[in-house]
């Protein structure tokens, strides 16, 4: 019975995950010739030219910055939501989730008009006689876009883990004489690590590979690795180079997943949500 129900999923995975992956590998390791294609590492050696390594460096830097900001903003928010002190937690939760029901592209376009020189934010700042904010088409705008779009992915897993911590454990720590700071560092924080790890993963991955945010809010000037891949497939039509970048990204992501799972320690599984 179990096998029969699994069957469509297996076909699905084979068709839409395994086969495309093999195709990506094939294109990455071949170069087209007049007679078809030959095996080659040319695509990879091109990627390791300084100009593309700088793109990779920029992508990693912006993704790390965005992840750190999301963590600094998201962890306290998750704690407030999970805590007993706040009775309207479902309202806050809803506030985080409802924007996600809207189209991601639309929300990013909204920032485009908000941040314009004569946009809503600057009109308000002018009215308050405050200095203008001109960050559209800069790296700051790209980071802002990433933080805005990916923050829920940080908050929700941390909240999910925090809200499941047995309150008895925290009370016990208090009864044994720990002050609230010690309760946090010795009990709450260690128990929240799995949520934190999946939050970091879920922010870092899309931030590393996004191409829409950097194109819209960065004005096409800050080519990230995602833009480079998109350009190779949609504009230039160099599938080989595009695939080789994708393969490098897969390796990088696997590598960072390995680091993450090291930090998870004894936990058997990671909650993705």
């Amino acid at each position: 019975m179990k096998r029969a129900t699994l069957f469509p999923y297996v076909i699905w995975m084979a068709l839409f995950i395994v086969v495309p992956m093999l195709l990506v590998l094939y294109y990455a390791f071949t170069v087209p010739t007049d007679a078809g294609a030959t095996w080659s590492l040319d695509n990879f050696s091109r990627f390791f030219e300084p100009i593309y390594l700088r793109v990779l460096g920029r992508s990693l830097r912006l993704a790390v910055i965005s992840t750190i900001i999301c963590l600094l903003l998201g962890y306290p928010a998750a704690m407030v939501m999970a805590g007993n002190a706040f009775s309207r937690k479902s309202v806050i939760l809803l506030l985080f989730v409802v924007p996600m029901w809207m189209n991601f592209l639309l929300r990013t376009y909204a920032w485009l008009t908000l941040l314009e020189r004569n946009g809503v934010i600057n009109v308000l700042l002018n009215a308050l006689r405050l200095p203008n904010l001109n960050i559209l088409y800069t790296e700051s705008a790209v980071v802002l876009g990433m933080v805005y779009n990916f923050l829920p992915f940080m908050v929700l897993p941390i909240y999910s883990v925090l809200s499941k911590i047995d309150k008895g454990v925290i009370e016990a720590a208090g009864d044994l004489g720990a002050n609230s700071f010690r309760v946090f560092t010795r009990v709450i924080f260690p128990l929240s690590v799995p949520g934190l790890v999946s939050g970091v993963t879920m922010v870092f991955m899309p931030a590393l590979t996004t191409f829409v945010i950097s194109r819209l809010l960065g004005g096409g000037q800050f080519t990230l690795i995602g833009n480079l891949i998109e350009q190779q497939f949609l504009v230039v039509g160099d599938w080989g180079f595009g695939s080789s970048i994708s393969v490098v990204m897969i390796v990088l992501i696997l590598f960072s997943m390995a680091i993450m799972s090291f930090f998870e320690g004894e936990e058997k599984s990671v909650a993705l949500w």
Binding site: L6, I11, L93, E116, G219, V235, D238, L272
Partner: protein, 369 residues
Amino acid sequence: MSFFDEGIPTLSEKGSYMKGVITLIKNGKKGLILFILALLSLTMTACREKPTLYVYNWGDYIDESIIAEFEDETKLRVVYDTYATNEDMYVKIKSGGSNYDVIFPSDYMLTRMREEDMLDKLDKTAIPNAQHIEERFRGLEYDLNDEYSVPYTWGTVGILYNTTMVDDVVDSWDILWDPKYSKQILMLDSQRDSIAVALLKLGYSINTLDPDEIAEAGELLKEQKPLVLAYVVDEGQDKMIAGEAALAVVWSGEATVARMQNPDLAFAVPKEGTNLWFDVMAVPKGANNKAGAMRFINFMNDPEIALRNAEYTGYSTPNLAAREMLPRDVTTDRSIYPEEEDLVDAEIFVNLGQTLSLYDRIWTEVKAH
């Protein structure tokens, strides 16, 4: 309210799952065949619907009420998709899997697709309205015998500028490299157009095959990058209308629309020369509804329809009958309808063949810089 607490997928038990997958593949051959048959029969029944015409055009490049009118008249269903650059369209058609009946490539892209055997010849007897096309736009180099295309719009590339922000005379591409306008310049996020601007500034042909000249243009664009506010395609017009930038490289039709909405804007075609371009209607090889495609192309060339379209898009129409119905001040505006003598220094893009990969590489480098 805790819909995130429940039903959390986990990453555990991967090993045993894979084992299950393998045994399933070993034992499930019969089931697999049945499943595929079921899938096939599903897709087959989906085919018997109202005849459909798939049209693939540039974004915001048609008065959409015309599509509805065409549907009413022909009882065809039109599926209308859009793209932002020629290269987007080319890669999508080339990679297969799409089934468009009518596409709108530019001149050089038409040549490329024709040379790569990606186009079908048009049935000119089914397009009587092609007779309205102006004489000077027939038999051009990209389609010598007019077998593959009917022109849709034409124009030049120039600089749209805001007269309240720019006090210099705009008559040269050099102004786009003037540090005075740092972070007030919008460039086109379109490979050949942007490289062409640099080539024109250097005094080279926009169709150069010389690697040194192309490399020089690339260096020039990299040098310009710190001055550029953004690389845009469709957003450029809005940004200029809103007064967000001082100078923008635009296609002439964009300039026409922008100037109507913001009287501070002006348009100039630089003295070093420009790119004379045509966007044409063509039919990709293997189109399912060729007859419908001919009807569509013919419909678009009906003078009344072409007129409405020209009024809506602001782009110059090659349809003489439609042009004659346009207001005089539009058709005598030489930035919109340049005459022969204005186009002496204008070059039409040609397909670059193998050298294109060099342009690809330079553009990738400029964008990554």
